[in-house]
């Protein structure tokens, strides 16, 4: 039974997605509990895979029993097991949250919504778990297509934003496919492990260089790295709240995972160190991403849009950690994948709850919000502390490693950018916190008692929204002190031994 666990990670949500329309057609109120039930299976399988990897080291799973270069295999190592746990956890929390928000945003269409929701998670899991390049493309398209459908259902500008996303996203996926084609022509193989042994002899082949260029460009588009981020703020701002809660934290992280895979598993690290100047290019793009993301975020008054620009900067952090090419930097990048996913999940959950209660997303709408939604705003403060890098929260630890990485690499501009970005984040969040906590109360004028207001609104935020918010805020606080343990058991094995 436990040998088949890796297969369950994909098969359970996929079969669950196939059955969701039937269940929803029978009784649409059952689709939410059904999705939660289905998602517990990959959640369990992902955690046990992670423990198996920690105990016995990386392992593979041959689908259909065909040996790897001919058939398709799953390859579960430290990095992919960690990503599986991250995706299933965040997917599960987003699924809990989807009940109240989703049921109002998609009234009468819950069955289709939950089907796409499950397919989205399946796509992410499939990209992470597989050891075959072409299979990555197939699952990339599953996650993209379900994302297009979900995002297009959003507010006013959503279809137009989605169409732009489809065009740019298809360019990204096609570039990835072109990269696969060029590598296939050079080696004749599609399996990542097989290619990793075949490629070192061909590092100076023009075919391989071009294939690599298209791989990284395609992945950078999916990740929203600086000059290719233009689709991202629009798509994630206009997306329905229950959808951006799922897609925004994970899509960029899965693409960052792919970038790490391409740079350090498919190609050996010495390819990036000595053959192509990819590290320098990525590093300066990351600086640009952090600066542009921060400045554009400062210019926004809509908090959801502001967060999407913060995402642009956060992608810059991860890429910067990768680009410095040393142990501390890469450790920071991988740790930041986890931390940033949790922080963005919490932020989008908070935004979802605020919108669900009918409050606007503009900053002036936050006036005295702490009295109306005390728990939600407390979670928001925790995320804000984490984003600025204040110690007990997890954001501090990944930023610490990132800054260490840039210092080891003697890239002082990168160090300065990271420090400045923390300052920008502090400004960004404290202007909202100030509005929420320190602005003169307006309900005194309205003749309302404070405690009364608190009680009324606390009852009104549905349990399915407040529970994921509190859990994600708790995760942010717990991940910080735990990060030493995470690095020791998982991340240090995921960093290539050459560093």
């Amino acid at each position: 039974m436990s040998d088949q666990l890796p297969a369950l990670i994909i098969v359970a949500p996929l079969l669950g997605a196939f059955l969701t329309p039937i269940i929803g057609w029978w009784n649409r109120h059952l689709s939410h509990p059904w999705v939660l039930m289905v998602l517990t299976i990959p959640l369990y399988a992902a955690y046990s895979s992670l423990f198996k990897v920690i105990k016995n080291g990386p392992f593979g799973y041959n689908l259909g029993g065909w040996a790897p270069p001919w058939g398709i295999e799953y390859r579960i190592d430290y990095l992919s097991a960690m990503m599986l746990v991250l995706i299933t956890t965040i997917g599960f929390l987003a699924a809990i949250n989807a009940k109240s928000a989703g049921n109002t945003e998609f009234k009468g269409k819950e069955a289709q919504f939950y089907t796409l929701f499950l397919l989205q998670i399946t796509g992410f899991l499939g990209i992470v778990i597989t050891g075959d390049l072409f299979n990555v493309f197939v699952f990339l398209e599953i996650s993209s297509l379900s994302g297009y459908g979900l995002i297009a259902h959003g507010e006013e500008g959503a279809p137009m934003a989605t169409f732009n996303y489809i065009i740019i996203g298809t360019i990204g996926a096609s570039f990835y496919l072109l990269g696969v084609g060029y590598l296939y022509m050079a080696t004749g193989s599609l399996n990542i492990a097989d290619l990793a042994t075949l490629l070192p002899a061909l590092y100076h082949s023009k075919m391989v260089l071009v294939g690599f260029a298209f791989f990284t460009t395609g992945v950078a588009i999916k990740m929203g790295l600086f000059p290719l981020h233009i689709w991202m703020p629009d798509a994630y701002t206009t997306a329905p709240n229950s959808v951006s809660t799922l897609i925004a934290p994970l899509m960029t992280k899965v693409a960052a995972y792919l970038l790490i895979r391409i740079l350090f598993t498919l190609f050996k690290p010495d390819f990036a160190l000595s053959v192509v100047p990819i590290a320098t290019i990525l590093g300066w793009l990351a600086v640009a991403a952090i600066v542009v993301g921060g400045v554009k975020a400062l210019a926004q008054t809509d908090i959801k849009r502001m967060v999407t620009y913060i995402m642009v900067a956060e992608v810059g952090y991860i890429v910067m950690g990768i680009s410095v090419m040393n142990r501390a930097g890469l450790t920071g990048a991988i740790l930041h994948i986890i931390n940033d996913a949790c922080m963005l999940l919490c932020l989008f959950l908070v935004i979802g709850a605020i919108s669900f209660k009918g409050h606007g997303r503009e900053i002036y709408h936050f006036q005295n919000l702490n009295k109306k939604m005390p728990l939600t705003m407390a979670a928001f403060v925790i995320v804000a502390l984490s984003m600025c890098g204040i110690p007990p929260a997890c954001g501090f630890f990944s930023k610490w490693y990132l800054i260490m990485g840039t210092i080891v690499a003697k890239q002082w501009v990168f160090t300065a950018t990271l420090l400045a970005s923390s300052l920008i984040n502090a400004v960004l969040f404290f202007r909202i916190i100030e509005k929420a906590y320190l602005a003169p109360p307006e309900d005194v004028a309205a003749g309302l008692d404070h405690t009364e207001a608190v009680i009324i609104t606390r009852d009104k935020v549905p349990l399915t929204m407040i529970v994921p918010i509190l859990i994600s805020a708790a995760i942010i606080l717990i991940l910080g002190p735990l990060s030493g343990k995470i690095i020791e058991t998982v991340i240090q094995h995921a960093v290539p031994a050459i560093f």
Binding site: L14, A17, F18, P21, G24, W25, N27, R28, L63, G64, W66, P69, W70, G71, I72, F106, K107, G108, K109, A111, Q112, F113, T115, L116, L119, T122, G126, D132, F134, N135, V138, F139, E141, I142, L145, S146, Y148, G149, L150, A152, H153, L178, Y182, Y184, M185, A186, T187, G188, S189, L190, L198, S205, K206, M207, L209, V210, G211, A213, F214
Partner: protein, 100 residues
Amino acid sequence: MRNWFKLISMAAVIITGALLIYGTHDMPAWGDPDSPANSHVSPRYITEATKKTATPNIVSAVLADYRSYDTLGESAVIFTASISCFFLLRRIRNKEDHND
């Protein structure tokens, strides 16, 4: 503004095309039976597939057996697209709730 924008896209397209053509320089000649693509993984499909899967059509054997997981993903893609279209367009056709 508009011309400038078109110029930028033109430049991006030309860079992409030039890069792709640069990559073809090292490519095996078209139709070379000994190119890596034709000699590393695929010969085993041709010699073995019929024996192992009892199908004379090797493409079907690879599609539905060796790489059947890709085909599962492919059907999931179609399913995703159909549900997406249904999800997006349904309200426009019919506002009332079918489910009870």
